[in-house]
Amino acid sequence: MIAIDNLVVQFGGVKPINELTATLAAPIAGLIGPNGAGKTTLLNVLSGFVRPARGSVALNGEQLLDLAPLQRVRAGLRRSFQTEQVVEDLTVSGNLAAIADHVVAPLNRAAAIDAALAFVGLRPVTDKLGQSLNLFQRRLVELGKCVIGNPRLILLDEPAAGLTEEEGGMFRELVLRIPAEVGAQVLVIDHDVELIRAMCSETMVLDYGKLLALGPTEAVLADPNVRRAYLGEF
């Protein structure tokens, strides 16, 4: 459970997040909103790359902001980035090992890597270099990195952007398995409303740093404010 209380982020004159208070409890929660609404910024606050000016965030009752970014990773926080970040000159398994090195005990590493490979279905390309992967495979590597080492919260920033509908569908199936098989809560940003609808039982909508709506996904998507500000319907 993520509890955000009165969060304010400020860059010079702009406040990409402004007095945000919200609690996300669903195993897979969605985060949507217009471009520049502050979604990525919120993820950066959760993972520790942006220091908020005010407010607090608690993960399962534990204060998150007290921890350094690295401590958060060790405590089970994982994230992917809006542009994929697969290392070109490491193999697929090398990319996974790079995180396993730091979050899994030495003896369990090989097994953890293998389990992640199996989970995302990349076993056939274990030894391929990152530079020769296509976008879908890269997104899968990113997801694989997120499920290594008993994660508790996985943050996905537009993980399916650029994927075709089929690939998006396969990706969605994987994400849906995470809460049960990996045991982590997932917070996902995406602009593909259908994907959000299919994955998330709960959705939060941000608009200019403010909370526009929060609740069961269907209800939120039906909210006229959301339809106007986000979907561009009148």
């Binding site: 993972s47 690295l70 990773v73 979050v103």
Partner: protein, 344 residues
């Protein structure tokens, strides 16, 4: 930086493996190299080859920083100087076995390298490169004023008297051939250490850091520690290189460690190739053996400089992953080719 380099012919990595088999390449190649040089070289070439192998260690340090982390250090030759200075100082002051002086040189250079790296830990790209160049510049002025120790008393170790004291070589390797083999052995060990880092956990962490620091942090990498470790290791290699150099001639001179030399070292490291371990050896040879060849052919010093400039550009422009990269892709092609043959 925005333009991403296409990296060709990178060595494959085997994660998790305890002793990757590729490591065996290092001793095998070095042994072959040492045997060939020992059989063929006269005094002059032996001396040049010894310097070349010694310097290849400092290039290996640069290769870690640049090839692995994408960090540029333009003070590597200054660190070679630090290593040499400390080795001579310890050697003249306490007369310990050579290995002790050598380790002292390596360790102090490593500490200095780390101290040099610290202000730079937060910096990247060209800006970092230039900051380290400033360190090289400052070192040049300080060391040329102090001079290298020549056996005297006191902190600076300047005798300023009759004759210079020479640093004795290790007892087991007094002669030119013996010392050359000694340097090759030391280089093999150091190159193995570097290569082992590259193939293992530090190498993966460094690759992530090169990709982006936020990405590295998000993957649980302690960026500062791993960067500092790379600087320290690179400094250590430079220091050992300086120590071996000091043992070769028995003494060193401050004027040989100018900022321009550090620039030159970096340039040749790129030409040699920073993505394969033997790029360092190639760079060492380029630094010492090629000028020796030109000198031996009686070519004017200025013409040599000019040839060097032209060759530097030629190599930069045509071999993005250095000469070593070209060799690697050649080997790969040969292997691939013969594999195809067999299938047929």
């Amino acid at each position: 930086m925005t333009s991403q380099q296409t990296i060709q012919a990178l060595p494959e990595r085997v994660p998790g493996a305890r002793f990757p088999k590729q490591l065996l390449q290092v001793p095998a190649t070095m042994a072959l190299f040492a045997a060939v040089v020992t059989c063929l070289a006269n005094s002059y070439w032996l001396s040049a080859a010894t310097s070349a192998v010694a310097l290849s260690l400092s290039v290996a340090g640069l290769a870690i920083l640049y090839g692995q982390l994408g960090l540029v250090s333009l003070c590597q030759f200054a660190l070679v100087g630090v290593g040499g200075w400390v080795t001579l100082r310890v050697g003249h002051a306490f007369h310990p076995p050579f290995e002790i002086s050598l380790l002292a040189g390596g360790i102090v250079a490593s500490v200095v390298g780390l101290a040099f790296g610290l202000p730079a830990l937060r910096l990247r790209g060209l800006y970092l490169a230039l900051v380290t160049l400033m360190l090289a510049g400052a070192f040049q002025i300080i060391i040329s004023a102090w001079g290298f120790p020549d056996g005297g008393n006191g902190f600076l170790g300047r005798a300023d008297g009759s004759g210079r004291a020479m640093l004795p070589r290790p007892e087991i390797a007094e002669g030119a051939v013996g010392y050359f083999l000694y340097v090759c052995l030391a280089a093999t060990i150091a190159l193995l250490i570097a290569q082992w880092h590259k193939l293992g956990r530090p190498g993966r962490a460094w690759a992530l850091i090169r990709k982006g620091e936020t990405v590295a942090i998000a993957s649980g990498v302690n960026v500062l520690t791993y960067k500092a470790w790379a600087f320290a290791l690179s400094g250590f290699l430079a220091g050992v290189s300086g120590a071996l150099l000091a043992g070769n001639v028995g003494q060193l001179d401050g004027r040989a460690f100018g900022a321009f030399e550090s620039l030159n070292l970096f340039a040749l490291a790129i030409v040699g190739g920073v993505y394969n371990w033997y790029g360092a050896l190639i760079a060492g040879l380029l630094l010492r053996a090629v000028p020796a060849l030109l000198t031996d052919l009686g070519i004017d010093g200025y013409v040599t400089i000019g040839i060097f400039g032209v060759a530097l550009f030629q190599a930069l422009a045509t071999a993005p992953s250095g000469i070593a990269g070209q060799i690697a892709s050649l080997i790969a092609r040969l292997r691939f080719g013969s594999a195809k043959e067999r299938v047929r």
